[in-house]
Structures are given as C-alpha cells and as structure tokens.
Symmetry: C2
Amino acid sequence: MKKVRDKYYFGIDLGGTVTKIGLVDRKSNVFEKITFSTFAYNSKQKLLHHIVKNINEVLQKDSKRKRQVGGIGLGVAGLVNFENGLIYKLTNIPGWKNVRISKILKKETGLPVLVDNDVNVVTLAEFIFGAGRGARNMICLTLGTGVGGGLIIEGELFRGSSYSAGEIGHFPLNADGPRCNCGSYGCLERYIGNRYFVSRVLEKMKITSKGNKILKLAQGKFSEINPKIIAQAAQRGDSLASEAWCEFARDLGLVLAGLINFLNPDVVVIGGGMAKAGKPLFEPLRKVVKKFTLGIPGNTVKIRKAQLKDENGIIGAASLFF
Amino acid sequence: MKKVRDKYYFGIDLGGTVTKIGLVDRKSNVFEKITFSTFAYNSKQKLLHHIVKNINEVLQKDSKRKRQVGGIGLGVAGLVNFENGLIYKLTNIPGWKNVRISKILKKETGLPVLVDNDVNVVTLAEFIFGAGRGARNMICLTLGTGVGGGLIIEGELFRGSSYSAGEIGHFPLNADGPRCNCGSYGCLERYIGNRYFVSRVLEKMKITSKGNKILKLAQGKFSEINPKIIAQAAQRGDSLASEAWCEFARDLGLVLAGLINFLNPDVVVIGGGMAKAGKPLFEPLRKVVKKFTLGIPGNTVKIRKAQLKDENGIIGAASLFF
C-alpha cells in the first residue's frame, strides 16, 4: 500500500449531515475539496453515485493525476469491518446495512479503498498530523452529540478483536444511572453527550436564580442554549456554567483517569465540538485526572486539545493509507 | 533471544512472602523447583545471594545443563522498567529501590536476565499456556489483597509508555468514595480488595441477623472469616454471602464492562486468590458485564477463570523469553 510514487489519496468524510471529499498529500494538504449535504441524496444509490461522480471528475480533470492518486480512504459514523471494507450499519443514515463499500467504490473508480470508523480516522489524523504527533500510545476522544474514542497502541491504530475498540461513550459510570439510548444504564454519554449536558444545565437554571449570563448570551431564549454559550458564560464568570463544566469534567475525568491508569498512554487528545469549550472544560478535567491517577501514569500523560479542524475527517480517511 | 537450542529458562517468582524458583521448558513443565520464605532473608544482599546460590547450584548440578539454560526471567510485585531491567521499588519488600536486578543477576550467573511486574508475568503465562491460549487481545485480572491487571494487545504483552499499564486496582469507581491507601478515593481495590471485601461482609453481619452459614463455617470466629469461607457459604445458600459476591461482581463488572467496550478483547482471564470463589463470583459477574457492554464487544468476549495454579509466576517469568 505504501508506494512512494503515490502522492495523493482521496479522503472521504461521510457524516450524518455533511459529506466532505478531498485529495490529500502526505503532508496533510487538502486539494479539490468538495462538500455537500448528505441528506440531499436520500438513498444509498444516489449518495454513492454522487460520491463516485465527484471522484471521477477530479480524476478526469487532470489525466495525469490518475496515476498520482493511490487510493480512497473513507471514514463513516458507524460500524465497520476494516479488514474487508464492509459497513455493518451507519449511525445516522438509514438504509446502509452490510454494504461492501470498498468493493463498490473500487469497481467504480479503479482505486483501492480503505474504510474505517469516523473516530478511528480522526484519531489517526491527530496522531500523524495533530496533537498526538510523536506519541507512542494515545487515547483520542471526540466530544459531541455522542462521545467517541480511538486508541493508538505502540504507534498503530488499535481496532480490537471485532473492530469495535475505542467505544468510550457507553462506559458505565453508575449501575443505577438513567437509561441510555444504547439500552444500557448510566453510560458516560448519557451524562456528557451534548444534549444531555445542555438539559442538565437547563434543569439547574429552573431551580436556581443563577445562570443569568447563559440566558443573556442566548438572547433570552432557552432553546438557543448550547455548549458554546455555556462555555462563554463560564469564561465570563457565570457560576452555574462553571459548575456545569466541573461536573462534566468530573464525569469524564473519572473514566479517563481509570483508562490512563490502565493503559499508561503518553498523550490524550480531546476533540469534537464540545472540546471547543476550552479552559472551562480543560482546567477542571486536568485536575480530576491528576487527582485520580497513580503517580507514574498521571505524570507521564499529557492532555491536549485536538489540533486539526474541519478537515480532520478528510485527512484522517486519507491517512488510512499512510 | 529465541534460540531453538535453548531448552530451559529459570523462572523466579519473587513474592512478598514466598520466593519460588524453577527451570521451565517451552511446554511449561517446571523442574528443579525451589521455594523459600522471602522474609527469611532480611536484606537485599542476603536475598539476592540466596537466589544466586540456588541458581548456580542447579547450573552446576549438571554441567551439561549450563548450555541448555537460555536465561533467567523474574517477576516481582512492584514497579519495573522492563527495557533496562531496573526495579524502581517493590511493594512488600523494603530496601529495594532502583535496583538494576538484571545487571546483578547476569554478572553472578552469566545468563541473560529479563524482569517484569508479577501481574504482567502471570498475564503472559495465562496467554501462552492457560485460559488465554489463542486469544489476540486479552485482559487478565488478579484478585487478591490487591487488584492487578495485565493486557495482551495483538498477541503481545502491552506495557504502556512508562511500563505501568494494566493498573486496574485504582480505577476510580466513585469520586466521593472512601480514601484508598494509594492516596486517591473510591478506587476499585478499595471496594473489592480481599480485606475490604471481608470487612464489608463483617459490617453487614453486624447489622442483620443473616450470615449464619458464614459464621458457622468460620467455627464461630469472626476473625477467621475470609473470601473462601464467604464463597462456601454462598454455595450453601447463605443470602448475605451471595449478596456480598453480587456487590463484588457489580463493582468489578462495571469497570470490566467499560474496559471491554473500550478495548474489545476476545478473552478476559480472572485469577488470583479471590477468583477461587468460582460460581458465586463468576455468575453475577458475567450478568453485569453482559448488561453493561455493547452488542459487539459484549458478544465477542469470553470471561474465563485462570487455569494455571501455583506455578504461574515461575512459568510466566520464564515466558518473558518465549
């Protein structure tokens, strides 16, 4: 797979709302970027056809380029068998069950195809080009609607015995906790997933007179309150907002401390929409992790914010070939 | 290290109470076994001298044998740098700080030396010769006074970025839990370590009239109650004893389920003195793990009792060469 003369790889970030395609070089530069609404193509066939059409257009644009492109990497939100390129199912796009995507795309484009879970792909991008550069062992978390995880072990992406490793969102925090939509109880995601976090803040606002700065930033509309606003309010000294992030940090930090004790990584990279909260999240999180880790793993590990932005899914998907 | 003509390796299990030495072949047969009280040698020098004396006696017994012995593997309860053979400190034997054990033993015996943490060594033994045979990814737990862990990743012992991986005993269960002797709070070991488990049972016996079978098996002496007796009582239908093991299983099972979700191993091997409880522990443990794992990792994993007995420390230490 690692041919030196292959200079570009397609990276496809197939998300629930937006699909992004780009041509990536080994220095993580992205060319020929295309973005379109995944929803606009309301069947598997239409979506696949549109992806293939875009790839072939890029390939044809420069007839020379065809020889310079080494393959197509694909990251999807869902369950994937990396070994044989089979998508078991996608989390947010109905109609995708047991799709042998690598076979289909290879047939239509003539290029080799690798496909993996979206969080694995982001983990790889951060490891090769982002906040995890130089690490040997790394945990990567993505904090958003869901809470995802990826794992680098001795310099390699670790996928587990049936390709499901990295699943941190359903780490049980509390045997008697609230029911999670995975069917289990008290999962981490059930506490710190975007929507659950916001609704915990709204609950608190109902029963106290605090949180004024949150409401002001949301222009008086409860429905407009989101993690970004809660982070801004915390930055401006709103105590309810700060406490909410401290609770978030405690819930995440306990699991993270346990995983750091168990895996002794050198780096933890934290990305996803909610990591943009910055200091109100990272400051208490580092404290919790410090408190609940043993000396050696606790002193070894660095907790860093993800570095790559919007294009991390494209870069990571292409990185499956690197 | 892997010379086919080397047929035997010394395995040394340097424990807090007992030290065991044996000559191990590649089929895990143990010869020339020697066992002595670690306490009897009350200084580092005396203990080392006694170990070296025993090894050299075995080597000299058969002058041919010297050529058949490939090295000395050592497992110790403590912090070890596997790469350079340095013991940072031992958990239960004072006076061992920053001891370059591999250099010392090599000088005195002429043999290459590998040294690792005792739980890593047991993990290796179970992986190569015991309940983990054929696994690709495996978690090994040892349940005793302390709660230890080891990890096989893609067929290799995983030691972490600073050789401390596998530390599961101090996984925080509860941010507001009782203080652990590691200095942290609410650690798993603080709930299910041998002594803590027994004292939880004694507490329950104080406030209810239940637990009669436990007391009877302990011949009426509270001071004689131990996990073995609590397991026997549970087997004979004592409800307090059964509930105690269910609580044990819930505490351990939550962490284990989370680790299974995150690491997607094919096998979990559970050993150590408390695993001898058998059914009263394993039955509720499998239920808890099933309840709190996601479909794929939960269906993939097999939870097994450790197979190797008393000699696992010797075999595992020698296995550092296999």
